[in-house]
Structures are given as structure tokens and as C-alpha cells.
């Protein structure tokens, strides 16, 4: 599945942005923490992992397993990276939102 013309959902955008913020250290648990820290949102395991899987399937993310750390029962960490398609999708979403926001910022920000 490649990029499609659909806009990203809010949660998907947040996940993509969180991964970009984390850079090299974006694995499941870190992503959830980042979302919690920056967006002040508690995300359930289920929601985050299912969303990550779906975005990998859509081609917005790619993942790789790295050498197991200690304290993980001999299991590797799965690190995520945003693909070019993911970046494009983020840009498109942002652009679409910005054109919609245009002219409304001041009014809305007052309240």
C-alpha cells in the first residue's frame, strides 16, 4: 500500500510527529511516553500498537528490530522511522488544515 489521498487522522499525525521528535529512539514504549509528555494524552497499549501496525501497513512508517537489551526478557526493541510517504502525508495534512485555518486564527484564538 502506498500513500493515498486520504488525510491523516489526528492520532496518526500525533504519532508521526512524536516519532520524528524521538528520532533514533522511537520504539513503542518511548512513543507512548512522548505522546503523554507532549500532548498530555494517555494512550492505551492497544490503541498505540494497532495504530503503529496500521501505519506500517499503509507505508507511512517502517520498523526494524534491534539487538535485544537486558531487562526485556531477551526480546528486541522494534524501532519506527517515518517513511518519505509519511512525511508527505504529514505535509499534506498540515497544508490542508492551514488553508482551512486561514483567516480564522485570530477569531478563534481570542476565546
Amino acid at each position: 500500500m502506498g500513500t493515498n489521498n486520504k488525510f491523516l487522522g489526528e492520532f496518526e499525525q500525533m504519532v508521526l510527529l512524536a516519532i520524528l521528535h524521538l528520532g533514533d529512539g522511537a520504539y513503542g514504549r518511548a512513543i507512548r511516553r512522548e505522546l503523554q509528555k507532549r500532548a498530555n494524552r494517555t494512550v492505551t497499549h492497544g490503541a498505540s500498537y494497532v495504530t503503529l501496525d496500521r501505519m506500517v501497513n499503509k507505508g507511512l512508517l517502517e520498523s526494524e528490530l534491534r539487538e535485544p537489551d537486558s531487562g526485556r526478557g531477551g526480546r528486541a526493541r522494534r524501532y519506527f522511522r517515518v517513511t518519505p510517504a509519511g512525511v508527505t502525508a504529514l505535509r499534506e495534512s498540515r497544508a490542508a488544515l492551514q488553508s482551512l485555518w486561514a483567516g480564522l486564527e485570530e477569531i478563534l484564538e481570542e476565546t
Binding site: 487522522g9 492497544g46 500498537y49 501496525d53 526485556r72 526478557g73 526480546r75 528486541a76 522494534r78
Partner: protein, 885 residues
């Protein structure tokens, strides 16, 4: 604890396996398991191992559910139309799976609530499955015979209407003349002494022919049945067939038992076969001996038990006509013995189960049905409470285009899922309960057959599916009535009137059902109290019996002396206060001696049916039967010159209403029968069953009618086990060849006889107890819910100056009104139902006001408490919180 459930180093393996099962992608799985491990370790460090394990389970289950329903977008977020596909066409199956997934997630979101519901349902289903299994084993399950509905017992009916066994010549007539419609076979039971390992025991011997096994359709498990010539009158067959029970208990189930010899009484018999176990359903015989009916014996001697099987294509009414015709014909031909005698065919199944047991089972089963109904109503009520709070959620779903059907399906799935959880708990409970019930002393015939099996599972499955469907449909239909607008406008916190009314009706129904069950249990318990309160007319406490079969005497005349010698030996045992003998067995429904008694001048139709017993001197002293007038048999034993008799009060009053019975003369059987003189009058006794009406009874002296079979009675405060050895020794000292039974306390027999009467009310009491708890919960839930939902309204009322008292009063009045309505309706239902089981009640009025009043008051109190506690909470509503600023 192992790492399987959690507790070792690292997260619980079982939970990990669960995740492995649902997360299919290996890369994703690796990442998730690793992440959770990290978090688990952190939680274990910061909090505790226990906490971490709980946390892990909780996360794993939620994750698993999420993955199990993954790829299915959540409803309101997007694609809501597709998430509720049309019930028609391909989408239906995946739609159903999805609904179950949503329902499961919904239940997990409120685990306490879901667990509570499943537990209530599980308790009900567990109790239900247990009761059903008992009923199934006792009443429903077919007898182990071929076509049991075509098996009957033939009895002769005396002119007075009593059922009798069949005399030998009469049996031969019935057998030969009804040949075209019935295949008849007879058996007579006798006690025989069996010499085994140099000890004598008393066995029950069935004297019969191969016809009996043919009629019942039972084949030997080992060896052969009797041959046609064995048992022919006049021949002396030496063949014996063992019962499966005796074969196992005395011969260790030895397959080489065939051909061995047995000493029974004075004869030597050869074992030719072992009968199949099925036969023990209809017979207690330990051994079977060949003996056919002898037509040359007396027609007055009714001692054959007759079984019959309808021939192929013969209808029961035709067979009944035939039997009646033969009886009438015999009456004409042998007027002296058979005039006025009829005959009847009774279904063997009725005979064995008994109408009382059947009725008791039906009562229990109805109670069970009521209980399951109550549980269904309760859960439906609780679910509805939640559904009402979820009205807004559903409103949104409707607004987003979800069809009404799809919302209903979701609720239905919830109900079915709860049913499944309840079934799991219920089956587990029944699995534990059933062996306990089966271990009860022989409550009713075939109680030992009670076991957990496929039928119990089927019942649990069907019942839980029914419950789940009922619960689901209940809330689904309620939901279907909501209008989208209503649902959305309900956001403020009011409650739709229709829902409120439905909930009120549910609560009234619950209280009514609890009332009906409690009244039934109460009535039966009262009846049992009455039964226990029956004075049997003698002192059962401290009375011990042992049955004795004396060895053959040279002459019967030597028996009384031998018995007196035995009795004085028994009286010398330390701790024994008194001893006597009789030919009867206490609280045993085996056949007794019946006769007709009349005054000297009376015509035959004025004779009275009475039972008579043979007793030794000191019988009345030993049993504690009071002497009302005259005196009883003298001690020591001696044959009185003139035949004398002691009579019970009822007999004395019936024969000589105005005169003193002592000194009167009494005729036996017919106007030219034996004459005896009454020497004393004693109190009436109920020594067969406390419910049986007290019959006229007569006592004759053992000195006049010596028999080899006797029940020895001892009055002692010592338990039977302490007495057994010395009693055995004392008896053997006098009669080395005597066969003895186990020693038993009469009180124990008495308790056994009342087993069914005790069993039914206690079972019902448990069911009723559960019903009361459920009704209480129902009322509590309703009021608590109302308080929660109407917080807004209560806040306004309080803000407007309504004191907390008036609010509590309002809620309380409403709750108590519902409870009262339930109690009244329940009383009416109970009154109607109690007529149906009134024959189970002993000297208890089915409309007994005390029971109704007590139960009504009790339920009202329970209901009021259940109302008061949550209404009190209403006063804690803070108007500032519920009203917008």
C-alpha cells in the same frame, strides 16, 4: 505460584501466550512483548511484584481484545456504516463476530459490573444444573429396562380397597388367562440364612422363575438364567443365581464363582449365574432361587409380587379390562376367597419413583424455573440501568446512521456473552455440588445415580443460552424503543418514563417471585416441623434393633423358651435397660400382617381391617408404648391357656365405643374364625411412617405364635456399635446358628424415612434464599440508580428548599410501594401454587396465615432496608455540583 500465573521473575507466561495468540505479526509481537516486559519490570521495582503481575494481566487482556477486534474501526470515529453491516448477506457473520468483540470490550471496561453479573448468573445456573440433575436421575431418566413404559405391577384389590400382593393360585389363573395381552411373572421374597466364612448372615431371597427375567428383559451378567424345568412346582431345584451386589460384596466379583456351592438355610445350592445389576432397581434380593407358583396353595395367602409386560400391539386399557374381567370371574368361581376382590395394573415407573417424589421434583423444578426467571430479570434490570446511562452513546450511534438493529444486536451479543460466562461458573459449581448431593444418605430411589454428565451439561448450555438470549432481548427491545431525539435530549440526566416503568415492573416481579418461593419453602418447612412433631406413640430415642433369624428348631414349641433365654441374656448386658422381641420392622414399608377383626356378634361387613404384630413380654415396657387399660402379656413367656390379645386404642374404640374393651372377646378374619380375649389396651403407634394414618392394631403373644424371624429390641443409651459385639455373643451363646443383621438405632431409621420431607424444604430454602438476596439487590439497585440518575432533579429540589428528609421520603415511599406491591402479588401467586403441592404438606394449611405474614413482613423489611440505604445517599447530593453555575 509459578511464572505461569505470575510471581516468578518476569511477567506471567500465560498472559504472554495470550498475546502471542492474538498478535499475528512476528515483528510487532516481539516489540510489544519486549515493551511490556520493560514496563512490567519497572512496575515491579517501583510498586510490587503483585501489582506488576496484575497490571500485566490487565494490559494483556485489553491488548488482546483490541487485537482480536483490530482492523475493525471503532464505531463513532469513522466508517460507522460499515461497522454495522446489514444483517442480511455476507456481512452478517463478521458482523456478529464484531458485535461479540465490542460486547467483550464493553464488559472488560467495567470489570466489577461484568463479574457481578456473571457471578449471579453462575450461581443460578449452578444451582439449577444441580437440581436438574437430581430430577433427571430420579424422574426423567428412563429405567434400565427395555420399553419401561410397557412394564406394570399387578396387584389384587381387597374389598376394602387396599392393595394386596397376589396369591399363588390366583397368579396362575391371571398368568394363563391374560396370556394374550400380558406376559406375567411372580416373585416372593423370603429371608434365608447364609453361611459364609463360618458366619451366618440373613439374605433376602427372591423365589421366582426365568419368566421374571424375561418380563423385565434382564439377562445374567455371568452364567445362565433358570431353565424351564427349574422352579416347576414339586421339583426341587438346587440352582441359585447371585445378585450383582452380593457377587461383588461377598465373592469379590470372582468370575469363577459359577459352580460353587452355597449353604442357604438347610439346603445346598449351586451357583449357576450372576444377574445384571439393572435388576437391583426393582429388587433388593441378594440371591434368586427357582420356585414357581403352586396352584394348590391357599387363595387367601397373598404373597407374590407380580410383574407384567404388555404384549406387542396391546393397549393398556385392553389389558386393564382383561385383568378386571379375570378378577371378577375368580370372585364368582371362588367366592370364599375372592368375592369382591379386584385387580389393577400400576405402571412400574410410578411404583418406583412414587407420586410424592415426582411431585416433589416438579415443585423443585418449578422453583428452579422461577429462580432462573428472577436472575434473568435482575440482570436485565442491571444491564438496563447501564444501558440507560449509555443512552447517549447509542443516541450518537443512531445519529451517525447506525441502524436500530445493529444497536440491538450489540446488546444481544452482550447478553449472550454474559450467558457464556455464567455457564462456565455454573458448570463449575454444579461439578462441585453434585457429588456432595449424591453422597447424601439414600434420599430417594436411585439417588446414587446422580452424577455430572452430558445431560447436566446440555441443561446448563440450554439454560444459559436461554438466559443470555432473554437478557439480551430484554435490553435490546428496550433500546429499540428509544427515539434518536429522546436519546440525545436525555443528556441532562432525566430518565425516560417508559424505561422507568419497565424497571419498576421488574422490581415488583422480583419481589413477587421471591415472596412466592419463600412462602413455598416456609410452608414445606412448617410441614416438616409438624412431621417431626408427630408423636410416634413410643420412645424412638435409645431404641436399638437387631434382626435375628433363629436356627431351625426341632419343634416350634421350643422357640419361646429359646427366645426368653436370649432376651434375659441381652438384659444382662451392662448398659441395656430392657429387651424384647417382635416380628415387625420399624419404619420399614415392607408388607405387614393384615387381618379382619370383629366382635363376637358382628357380621363380616362390620369387621375392621387391622394390622397385627407378634410381641414378647416386656415389649411395651421396652418400646415405651403406654398401657391404657388392663394388663399386657405376662413374663416369663408361657403359652397362655386361652388365646389372648392386646389391642390399640383405635381398635378398642372402633369395636367397643361405649364399653371397656378389656375382657371382651374378639374374632379373627371371619365370623367362624379364632376367638381371642382382650386383656389390655395400649396406646396407638405410628411405627411405619409418621404420615401414615394410625391404623387399628392388635398384638398377640410370641408364646402363642412363635416365629423364627424376630426383631430384637434393646433400650440403651449406648450407641449400636458399642453394643454389637456383646449382643452377638449373647445370642450365639443360646443359638449358635442364628443369623443376625447389623444393629441399627430406630431413631436413625426414623430420620431416614423423613429424608424426602427434609430434602425438599431445605433445597427450596436455598433457592428462596438466593431469590431474596436477588430481590434485595434488585430493589437496592433500582433506588441507587434512581438516586444517581436523578441527582440533577434532587439537586433542584434541595436548592428549592426541599429538605433532605423530604427527598429521602419520596424515594423511600416509592421503593416501599414497589416492595409492597410485589409482596401482595407474590402472596397471590403462592396461594395459587400451594394448592398444587398441598399433598406434600402434612397437617399444614396451604394458606397458613402465619407463614404468609412472616414471609411478607420479612420481605418488606428486607425491601425497606434495601430502599433506605441508597435513598439516604440522596441527601449527600451537593446542589452546587449537580446544577450548572
Amino acid at each position: 505460584m509459578t511464572r505461569w500465573m505470575g510471581g516468578g521473575p518476569g511477567p506471567p507466561r500465560l498472559a504472554e501466550m495470550l498475546l502471542r495468540l492474538v498478535v499475528k505479526d512476528p515483528e510487532s509481537r516481539e516489540g510489544i512483548l519486549g515493551d511490556l516486559w520493560e514496563e512490567y519490570c519497572e512496575a515491579a521495582d517501583v510498586r510490587s511484584q503483585r501489582y506488576a503481575t496484575r497490571w500485566y494481566w490487565w494490559s494483556a487482556i485489553r491488548l488482546a481484545l483490541r487485537y482480536a477486534t483490530a482492523g475493525l474501526p471503532s464505531i463513532p470515529r469513522r466508517s460507522h456504516r460499515r461497522s454495522f453491516p446489514s444483517p442480511h448477506g455476507r456481512g452478517a457473520i463478521t458482523g456478529l463476530a464484531r458485535d461479540v468483540g465490542y460486547a467483550a470490550r464493553g464488559l472488560v471496561r467495567t470489570p466489577g459490573f461484568a463479574a457481578g453479573l456473571a457471578l449471579i448468573l453462575g450461581l443460578g445456573l449452578g444451582a439449577g444444573t444441580t437440581i436438574f440433575s437430581v430430577f433427571d436421575a430420579v424422574v426423567l431418566r428412563p429405567f434400565p429396562f427395555e420399553q419401561p413404559d410397557r412394564l406394570f405391577r399387578l396387584a389384587q384389590i381387597a374389598p376394602q380397597g387396599l392393595d394386596f400382593h397376589v396369591s399363588q393360585p390366583d397368579f396362575v389363573d391371571f398368568r394363563d388367562r391374560a396370556y394374550g395381552v400380558l406376559d406375567l411373572a411372580a416373585v416372593e421374597y423370603q429371608r434365608v440364612a447364609f453361611l459364609h466364612n463360618e458366619r451366618l448372615e440373613r439374605l433376602s431371597a427372591g423365589l421366582t422363575t426365568s419368566a421374571l427375567f424375561r418380563v423385565l428383559g434382564v439377562r445374567p451378567a455371568l452364567g445362565r438364567s433358570f431353565t424351564a424345568s427349574e422352579g416347576r412346582p414339586g421339583t426341587n431345584a438346587s440352582a441359585v443365581i447371585l445378585s450383582a451386589r452380593l457377587w461383588r460384596s461377598r465373592f469379590g466379583a470372582d468370575p469363577d464363582v459359577l459352580g460353587r456351592t452355597l449353604r442357604l438355610d438347610d439346603g445346598v445350592y449351586v451357583v449357576v449365574g450372576v444377574m445384571a445389576e439393572e435388576l437391583e432397581v426393582v429388587s433388593d434380593a441378594d440371591v434368586w432361587l427357582a420356585r414357581g407358583a403352586d396352584p394348590s396353595t391357599s387363595r387367601d395367602d397373598h404373597r407374590l409380587q407380580v410383574f407384567g409386560r404388555l404384549r406387542a400391539d396391546v393397549r393398556l386399557p385392553d389389558a386393564r379390562d382383561e385383568v378386571t374381567r379375570i378378577a371378577a370371574d375368580l370372585g364368582e368361581r371362588y367366592p370364599a376367597s375372592n368375592q369382591g376382590w379386584g385387580a389393577k395394573l400400576a405402571p412400574l415407573t410410578d411404583d418406583l419413583v412414587g407420586s410424592q417424589v415426582r411431585l416433589a421434583s416438579v415443585t423443585l423444578l418449578s422453583a428452579l424455573a422461577l429462580l432462573l426467571l428472577l436472575i434473568g430479570a435482575n440482570i436485565s434490570n442491571l444491564l438496563l440501568a447501564r444501558t440507560t446511562t449509555r443512552q447517549r452513546e447509542f443516541g450518537v450511534r443512531f445519529a451517525l446512521g447506525a441502524g436500530r438493529w445493529s444497536v440491538m444486536r450489540l446488546l444481544l451479543a452482550e447478553g449472550l456473552l454474559l450467558g457464556l460466562l455464567g455457564a462456565i461458573i455454573g458448570v463449575g459449581l454444579a461439578y462441585v455440588l453434585l457429588p456432595l448431593v449424591a453422597r447424601q444418605p439414600e434420599l430417594v430411589p436411585r439417588m446414587t445415580d446422580v452424577a455430572f454428565g452430558g445431560r447436566a451439561l446440555t441443561f446448563a448450555g440450554v439454560a444459559s443460552a436461554g438466559e443470555g438470549l432473554g437478557i439480551g432481548l430484554g435490553s435490546a427491545f428496550q433500546a429499540a424503543r428509544w427515539k434518536v431525539q429522546t436519546a440525545l435530549s436525555e443528556a441532562g440526566g432525566g430518565t425516560a418514563r417508559a424505561v422507568r416503568r419497565y424497571r419498576d415492573i421488574l422490581v415488583v416481579g422480583q419481589v413477587a417471585l421471591a415472596m412466592a418461593l419463600l412462602v413455598a419453602a416456609g410452608l414445606l418447612a412448617r410441614s416438616f416441623q409438624q412431621l417431626r412433631g408427630v408423636d410416634p406413640g413410643f420412645q424412638t430415642e435409645g431404641l436399638v434393633t437387631v434382626e435375628v433369624e433363629l436356627s431351625s428348631p426341632v419343634s416350634r414349641l421350643e422357640l419361646p423358651g429359646r427366645v426368653e433365654e436370649i432376651l434375659s441374656g441381652l438384659r444382662n448386658i451392662p448398659g441395656v435397660d430392657a429387651a424384647a422381641g417382635t416380628d415387625m420392622r420399624f419404619f420399614d414399608l415392607s408388607p405387614r400382617n393384615f387381618t379382619e377383626l370383629g366382635r363376637m356378634d358382628a357380621a363380616l361387613e362390620d369387621y375392621i381391617s387391622a394390622d397385627w404384630r407378634v410381641v414378647t413380654p416386656r415389649y411395651f415396657e421396652t418400646t415405651g408404648v403406654p398401657v391404657r387399660a388392663g394388663h399386657v402379656f405376662p413374663n416369663p413367656l408361657e403359652a397362655s391357656g386361652e388365646p389372648v390379645v392386646v389391642v390399640g386404642e383405635t381398635l378398642a374404640r372402633s369395636l367397643w365405643p361405649e364399653r371397656d374393651a378389656v375382657g371382651q372377646q374378639l374374632r379373627w378374619e371371619t365370623p367362624d374364625g379364632l376367638v381371642t380375649r382382650v386383656i389390655g389396651v395400649v396406646g396407638d403407634v405410628a411405627d411405619v411412617h409418621p404420615v401414615l394414618p394410625q391404623v387399628a392394631s392388635a398384638y398377640v403373644s410370641y408364646a402363642d405364635v412363635p416365629t423364627r424371624s424376630l426383631t430384637m429390641l434393646l433400650r440403651s443409651d449406648l450407641p449400636p456399635s458399642d453394643l454389637a459385639a456383646s449382643v452377638r455373643r449373647r445370642i450365639r451363646e443360646v443359638d449358635a446358628g442364628a443369623a443376625l443383621s447389623e444393629m441399627r438405632a430406630v431413631r436413625e431409621r426414623y430420620v431416614d424415612v423423613l429424608a424426602l420431607d427434609r430434602f425438599v424444604p431445605s433445597f427450596l430454602a436455598v433457592v428462596a434464599g438466593v431469590a431474596v438476596i436477588l430481590a434485595g439487590l434488585g430493589v437496592y439497585g433500582l433506588v441507587a440508580f434512581t438516586v444517581a440518575r436523578r441527582g440533577h432533579e434532587i439537586g433542584i429540589r434541595m436548592a428549592l428548599g426541599g429538605g433532605p428528609g423530604s427527598i429521602v421520603g419520596m424515594l423511600f415511599r416509592h421503593g416501599v410501594l414497589l416492595v409492597t406491591a410485589g409482596v401482595v402479588i407474590g402472596a397471590a401467586v403462592a396461594l395459587a401454587l400451594s394448592r398444587a403441592f398441598s399433598s406434600l404438606l402434612f397437617e399444614t394449611d396451604p394458606s397458613d396465615p402465619v407463614t404468609y405474614l412472616a414471609v411478607g413482613v420479612f420481605l418488606t423489611v428486607v425491601g425497606s432496608v434495601a430502599t433506605y440505604v441508597p435513598s439516604k445517599r440522596a441527601t449527600q447530593v451537593d446542589p452546587m455540583k449537580v446544577l450548572p453555575a
